[in-house]
Structure formats: structure tokens, C-alpha cells
Amino acid sequence: MAHKILIVDDEPNIVISLEFLMKKEGFEIAVATDGEEALAKVASFGPDLMLLDVMMPKKSGFEVCEALRADPANAGLQIVMLTAKGRDTEVAKGLAIGADAYVTKPFSTKELVAKVKSMLGVA
């Protein structure tokens, strides 16, 4: 069965690339464009991994991450924070509140794919 990946980002221009890439890798994809939708999709779609943008309307990536980590039911969900906030303090915050990886934009798509694969154990 294909792994499910939820892409959460309010920028359609990056979503299109991420969606294309992940589909090419054979993952099952869902997209959310804000924090609240992301929480809803986690419940309905049940992803294995989530690519989560930080700067979003309604709920920030940090808030989404915290909300998810507060619920033990989501313990198995891998979260990769994907953000334009490059300061080391923010990287530290992201990891501290429970993200499994933190990737700063712009990133190499190849490395991102490699990282996602290794996290899902499909290398």
C-alpha cells in the first residue's frame, strides 16, 4: 500500500511542484492550504507524513504541529516542517515542538525526496 503524504502550504506555486514530485515517487497525496484544513485532513485522510509550511493563514505551522503532537493518536505521523523562516532559533523551535525534520526554503527537491523516503523507510 502506498504511503500517504499530506502537503500543507498556502502557496500554490510550491504545492504544484511538491504534489507532482511526490506523485512521481508513488505516494498518495492530499493538499491543505491552511492550518485548520490541515488538522481536518489529518483526521480524514490519515497521512503517514506531512510536509508542513510554517507561515500560513488561520493557524501557523507551529500551531498545527503543536496541536497534532498534543494528541497521542497522531504519534506515528511524521512531520517535516517546510519553511521560509531560516533563522536557527526557528529551526530549534520547530524541532522542539515535535517536528521530525525541518527544511528551509529554497531546498533541493532531490534531497527532500530522499529525506521523505528515508523517513518512511522506503529507501
Binding site: 506555486n13 511542484s17 521560509a84 531560516g86 528551509t104 529554497p106 531546498f107 532531490k110
Partner: protein, 719 residues
């Protein structure tokens, strides 16, 4: 015994001396004689008695005359001399004894005169020495004050209680700029001698800094402390504190006060914040777009055989995001260009001052005449004036060498945030290569070298320079583009001219000032006063007349501080009476738009804090203030002295105690009068003259002055 009585006694003694021995001898002889001898003697004597009596009387008269003469010369003469000597001792130093009378008295007089002479010389000498010493102390103080006033930093010296002993002009301007509110002095940034620094700087922070310094002092470290504080108006101040150590020669030096240098860093902090924002917008703002582009491009490269539709979408992403990035870049540059400039310390300087300096150097060094075209003489630029002037002289020298212009011209104009400084000459066209080499070579004029090139100077200013021809006029110019500056603090001249003398910005006697809650039993000359006057719409406060101007000045340590004044027009919110306008000279136009009394009174109250109030005919002014108590909640509860009553205390028999009359009586020259501030200053001058006169009458303290005032007739008038 009085001299007269002694004279009478002497006369009696003389009489006894002349008759006594004869009478006694006669009596003894008489008692020894027989009856016959007595009869014979009587017969002999009686016939010759008149002659003897005559002789005796004659001798007596001569004796009295001699006695009288001696008395006049020695006793009365010496008494007179004694009086003269007393006079020389006290009233008139230059008085001398006239040598007269017998030689011995004259000698005494001369000796006394010589002594007086010697004393005068000594006294003159002492006076001269004292005034020399005073002058040198005064000179040192003045030098210090001058030094302080020239400093570009705001400097405030305080004693340990936080009372201000010295401040410089920069501090005054800076804190004045901090003051907010519509009146001339308000907003809690009151600077003044004897005032508390805590109205400006946070007390806790100042005291903390004081503690830090004490600790550093005791551990032998450099005693200094820095802190940043926010004012009530939200400005950021950076203060540096260094201690003033007591002058005593003790091993352990105690702190007796401190020097604060204060810098308003609100502006630079804002700039820092803007710079930060710009950086942020450039970096993080670009990350998203770049991320989208990079992902899209990688996909395009990695999957060349994707569907056409998808390929087009990826291309659009690249196009779209690239456009967004360019737009953001433009926007950032436009918004933040000011804060992105180089950080070379540039000063704000009038453009024409740069030109004037360059003109002098060029005419002096190159003997090249300079003419001026349109100059915007209000234009301030941000410049490093030394290197900029050097660059102008360097270009002038280059032009002189290559094109031999007969004269050069300057022009100064501006467009938006940019100032244009043009150096114009008439002559042949110049190649861009030539200008390029000029731009890059290190500058040299005559024997003077600069390590910089023209390009360096331009870069340092964040400016630009180019060469341009005015074909029609057959001439060309170099255009320096410099950033326009908005000068931070406008210099005020009016306040400098108010005091004829140098500004009273310091008072070191305040070092030993105790805390200043008003103590009625302190000497009059020791207290701090606010002397004030009001102008009003009329004379009947209870009938609706209102204050239209409040003027006040401070007396600190027996000195009138002409720099620390309160001068505020007030909108009475009712029409002025036409008949009163000639008296106060204040017209409708002047009061409209001014703050009303509800605003002015709190500010004036703050100005008066911790001082005794003084006014001429104070009851009148106080009545106006008291009638506002209920409405404004401001109560003037401090003691009030009235110069009218004090004058009546000193001169109870004089008919008039009007301010003008008193001024004349006390010999005080005052320029113009009849505006509130001028009258307050005049009243202050009167009070300072009255203080020593009151002391002569034994009125030393405020309490005594208040009691004496109450007893005068005038104190019974009510408004």
C-alpha cells in the same frame, strides 16, 4: 564723669589751691596771736584787703583761662579725634584726622593717620587678592560652562539626591524636544537647576546605576554604568553615568554626585529596526519564491517528457515567482534605501556651509575665483564635510590643470530626498575616460594628500557623482548627489538673547543641597522660588475674568535663572475686553488656538514643584489660581510671598508699593514690562534686593517673612 563736669571740678580745685594755703596760714597765725597783735593785724590788713583780693581774683581768672585752653586743646581735641577715628573704623574708610591743636595732639593725629593708611593698604591688598582668586575661580567655572555648552552630547551633572547642578544647552534642547504637550514646558521633561533628574529619567534605573558604580568603586574597577531608559513620551534614551568623587583627600573616595551623558537613540533604534525589516524582507521574503522556482525548475529538468500542460504550469510558476521577487526587491529598495546606506558617520550640515568652506579653500589654494548660482540656503545634507570639501578642491585643481577655466561656479538644489551640489565651469568637453581616472586616483591637492579617491568619498556618502554638459551654455558641471538631512534639533536663538549674560546652566553650590521639601525655617536666601505673574482679562476673578498669560522664572540659590522660564499664553475662552488690550498688549489673535487653562495649569504646577511662590500683589494672582482649583483639581498649596507686602515691611512709611515705584526706589533698571514674563522677572529682581534688607530687620526665614507680611496694612485687602 562728663568732660564738662571735670572742667568745673578743675576750676574749683584751682580756686582752692589759690586761696586755701593763705586762709589756713592766716587762721593758724590768728589763733596763736595775743589780743593786741590781732587788733594791729586787723588794722594793717583791712586797709590792704582790696589789693590782695584783686590780685587773687586776677590770678584766678588767668588760671581759669589757662585751664580752659588746655581743656579745649587736650580733652575736647582728643574726644573729637576719637570720634573721627570711630568714623574711619566703620562708616568711611577714607576719612582722615585733621592734625590740629598742640604739637603732642598733632603727633598723635599723624600717627593715627599713618596707622589708618597702613590698614587701608592691607585691606586693599586683601580685597585685591580675594577678587583675583574669585576671578580665577569664576574664569574656571566659565571655561567649564563654555566647554559643556559646546559639547554635542547632552550632559547633566547631579548630586546624590538627583538634583541637577549643571546641564548644557544640548541637554536643554534634547529634553525640551522630549517634552510633549501643547505648552512651552510640559510633559515631564523639565530640566532646571535644583530640579530632580527623576522627572526625566526613571528613578529606579538611575539609582541602580548609582549602586553599580558604588560597587565598582569599592572593588577598584573603572566606575561607569550604562543604561537605556524609556521616557514618558516613549523615547529611548541611552545614558552613561560616571561618578563625581568628593574632593577630600581621603583614601576611600566617596561619590558626591554623578555626570550623565544622555543620547536619544530612538531615531537610530528606529533605523536599526528598519534595516532589520529590510534584511528580513530580502531574505525570508525571497525564500518562498526561490523555493517554488527551484522545485519547479528541477521538475522541468528531471522530467523532460512530462505533459505539455503540466510543463506550462511549471513554467508559469517560474515566471510568476521571478516577477514577484523582482517586485519585492524594488519595493524593499524604495522603502529602505535610507537605512541601507553606508554606516560612515555623517553629520547634518547646511549645504551652503560646505560650499563656503570649499570656496575659501579653492580661492586660497588655487587662486581661482568662485561665483555662486542659485543656492538653496535652507538645504541640509548628510556629509562628512572634511572629505567632501577635499573632493571639491581636488576636482577644482584638476579642472584648473586641464581646462584652465577662468572661474568656477557652485549651484545647490534638491529633488526629493536628494541634494544636488554642482561644480560648474565653461570649457571644452571632457572624455568619460578622463573623468573615470580622476574618480579612481587618490586625491592630492598641492602638498596635501588624502588616502581616499573621489569614488571613496562618494561611496562614503552613499551618493553619486557624474559629469554633465550644458550644451546651450557651453559649459559643463560635476554633479554631487548627496542625501538630504532633516536636522534633528533646530537651534533656538531667542532664548540665548534673553539673558544678557552667559546662560546660567550650572550651580555647584547645589552639591551640598539637602533635599528640598520646603522648610519654612530655612534662610530666605537658601530656598528655591518660582516668581510668577499673570495677565488677565480684567480685575474681577469672581466675576468671570480669566487668565490669558502666565509668566514665571526661577530663583535658585539666590540667583535668578533667566533660562528657566515658563511663558505661556492662555485661551480664556471668552472675549477680551477691548479696554484691557492696551495694558497687557495681548490681542484676540494671540490667544486663540492657545491651550486653555485646564492644560496650562497642570504644566505650571509642575514647573512650580517644590518651590515657594513669589508674586507682586500675590493675593490677586492666587485668587485666579484658586478659583480653578475645583475644575482642574490642581492646588497650589506651597507658601506664597508677596513683594508688595515685603516692600511695605521694609518701607512702612512709603505711600506707594506699585511694582514700578519699588523698582525705582530700589534702583533696579528693567527694560520692557507689562507682559507676564517681564513682570515676573522684574518681581524676581525686586525680591532679590529685598532679601538683604529684610535680613537687616531680623527677618531671616520664610516663616518670619510671612508673619511680617501679615502684619502690614496691605495684607488686609481682599479680592
Amino acid at each position: 564723669m562728663k568732660a564738662k563736669h571735670r572742667f568745673a571740678l578743675a576750676v574749683v580745685v584751682l580756686g582752692l589751691l589759690m586761696t586755701g594755703p593763705f586762709v589756713v596760714t592766716s587762721l593758724l597765725v590768728w589763733l596763736d596771736m595775743k589780743e593786741a597783735e590781732r587788733d594791729m593785724l586787723t588794722g594793717l590788713l583791712l586797709s590792704r584787703l582790696p589789693v590782695g583780693t584783686m590780685m587773687t581774683l586776677f590770678g584766678f581768672v588767668i588760671g581759669v583761662l589757662v585751664l580752659h585752653k588746655l581743656f579745649k586743646q587736650y580733652v575736647e581735641g582728643l574726644l573729637r579725634m576719637a570720634e573721627t577715628l570711630r568714623m574711619m573704623l566703620s562708616a568711611n574708610r577714607n576719612f582722615r584726622v585733621t592734625p590740629e591743636g598742640p604739637p603732642e595732639v598733632q603727633q598723635l593725629a599723624r600717627a593715627a593717620n599713618d596707622l589708618a593708611q597702613q590698614r587701608d593698604e592691607l585691606m586693599d591688598d586683601v580685597d585685591a587678592q580675594i577678587s583675583r582668586a574669585k576671578a580665577s575661580v569664576e574664569e574656571e567655572k566659565n571655561r567649564l560652562a563654555a566647554l559643556m555648552s559646546e559639547l554635542a552630547q547632552a550632559v547633566v551633572v547631579c548630586n546624590l539626591d538627583g538634583r541637577i547642578l549643571l546641564y548644557n544647552n544640548r541637554a536643554r534642547l534634547q529634553f525640551k524636544a522630549l517634552a510633549q504637550g501643547p505648552t512651552s514646558v510640559s510633559g515631564g521633561a523639565l530640566i532646571g537647576l535644583g530640579r530632580s533628574i527623576f522627572s526625566i529619567l526613571e528613578k529606579n534605573q538611575v539609582q541602580h546605576a548609582q549602586e553599580v558604580i558604588s560597587q565598582r568603586l569599592s572593588s577598584g574597577k573603572t566606575a561607569m554604568s550604562n543604561f537605556i531608559t524609556t521616557t514618558r513620551s516613549g523615547q529611548l534614551l541611552r545614558a552613561q553615568m560616571v561618578p563625581v568623587l568628593s574632593a577630600s583627600g581621603d583614601e576611600t573616595k566617596a561619590m558626591s554626585g554623578y555626570v550623565l551623558t544622555v543620547e536619544n537613540i530612538t531615531r537610530s533604534m528606529e533605523q536599526e529596526a528598519r534595516r532589520d525589516q529590510a534584511m528580513h524582507s530580502m531574505t525570508e521574503g525571497s525564500r518562498s519564491s526561490l523555493g517554488s522556482i527551484r522545485a519547479a525548475v528541477t521538475n522541468l529538468i528531471d522530467y523532460p517528457d512530462m505533459e505539455v500542460e503540466l510543463r506550462e504550469r511549471f513554467m508559469r510558476v517560474v515566471d510568476d515567482e521571478a516577477a514577484r521577487m523582482s517586485q519585492r526587491l524594488d519595493q524593499t529598495m524604495a522603502e529602505f534605501s535610507d537605512s541601507m546606506k553606508t554606516r560612515w558617520p555623517l553629520e547634518d550640515i547646511l549645504g551652503i556651509d560646505v560650499i563656503a568652506a570649499a570656496q575659501r579653500r579653492i580661492e586660497d589654494k588655487l587662486k581661482l575665483p568662485i561665483k555662486m548660482e542659485e543656492l538653496d540656503d535652507t538645504l541640509w545634507v548628510k556629509a562628512d564635510s572634511f572629505s567632501l570639501v577635499f573632493a571639491l578642491v581636488f576636482l577644482a585643481a584638476k579642472l584648473q590643470d586641464h581646462y584652465e577655466p577662468r572661474e568656477l561656479r557652485f549651484r545647490l538644489s534638491s529633488e526629493g530626498k536628494l541634494a544636488y551640489l554642482d561644480l560648474i565651469w565653461a570649457g571644452a568637453a571632457m572624455s568619460s575616460e578622463t573623468f573615470y581616472t580622476w574618480e579612481m586616483e587618490t586625491m592630492q591637492v598641492g602638498g596635501e594628500n588624502s588616502p581616499l579617491s573621489l569614488r571613496d568619498v562618494i561611496d562614503r556618502h552613499g551618493g553619486e557623482i557624474w559629469y554633465q554638459r550644458e550644451k546651450a551654455a557651453h559649459r559643463a558641471f560635476f554633479r554631487f548627489v548627496l542625501p538630504v538631512a532633516t536636522p534633528e534639533v533646530a537651534q533656538e536663538q531667542d532664548e540665548r538673547s534673553r539673558g544678557a549674560n552667559r546662560p546660567e546652566y550650572y550651580d555647584f553650590d547645589l552639591f551640598n543641597f539637602e533635599d528640598k521639601s520646603i522648610d519654612l525655617d530655612r534662610k530666605l536666601s537658601d530656598l528655591t522660588y518660582t516668581v510668577f505673574d499673570t495677565e488677565t482679562t480684567g480685575l474681577e476673578p469672581s466675576n468671570g475674568d480669566e487668565i490669558i498669560q502666565v509668566g514665571a522664572a526661577r530663583i535658585v540659590n539666590n540667583r535668578l535663572l533667566r533660562q528657566e522660564v515658563f511663558n505661556q499664553l492662555v485661551d480664556p475662552e471668552r472675549p477680551l475686553k477691548p479696554e484691557s488690550i492696551p495694558i497687557h498688549g495681548i490681542t484676540e489673535d494671540m490667544v486663540r488656538g492657545q491651550p486653555n487653562i485646564d492644560v496650562v495649569l497642570p504644566a505650571f504646577h509642575e514647573f512650580c514643584e517644590d518651590t515657594v511662590l513669589i508674586a507682586h500683589n500675590a493675593a490677586f494672582d492666587m485668587r485666579f489660581l484658586q478659583l480653578k482649583e475645583e475644575r482642574t483639581g490642581i492646588k497650589f498649596s506651597q507658601p506664597v510671598l508677596d513683594t508688595l507686602l515685603l516692600s511695605a515691611v521694609i518701607h512702612p512709611n512709603q505711600e506707594s508699593h506699585k511694582l514700578d515705584v519699588i523698582l525705582e526706589r530700589l534702583g533696579i533698571q528693567i527694560g520692557s514690562r507689562h507682559n507676564a514674563l517681564e513682570d515676573a522677572l522684574a518681581t524676581a529682581a525686586v525680591f532679590l534686593k529685598l532679601v538683604p534688607l529684610l535680613e537687616e530687620q531680623g527677618i531671616m526665614t520664610v516663616r518670619q517673612a510671612l508673619e511680617a507680611s501679615e502684619k502690614t496694612y496691605f495684607a488686609r485687602i481682599k479680592y
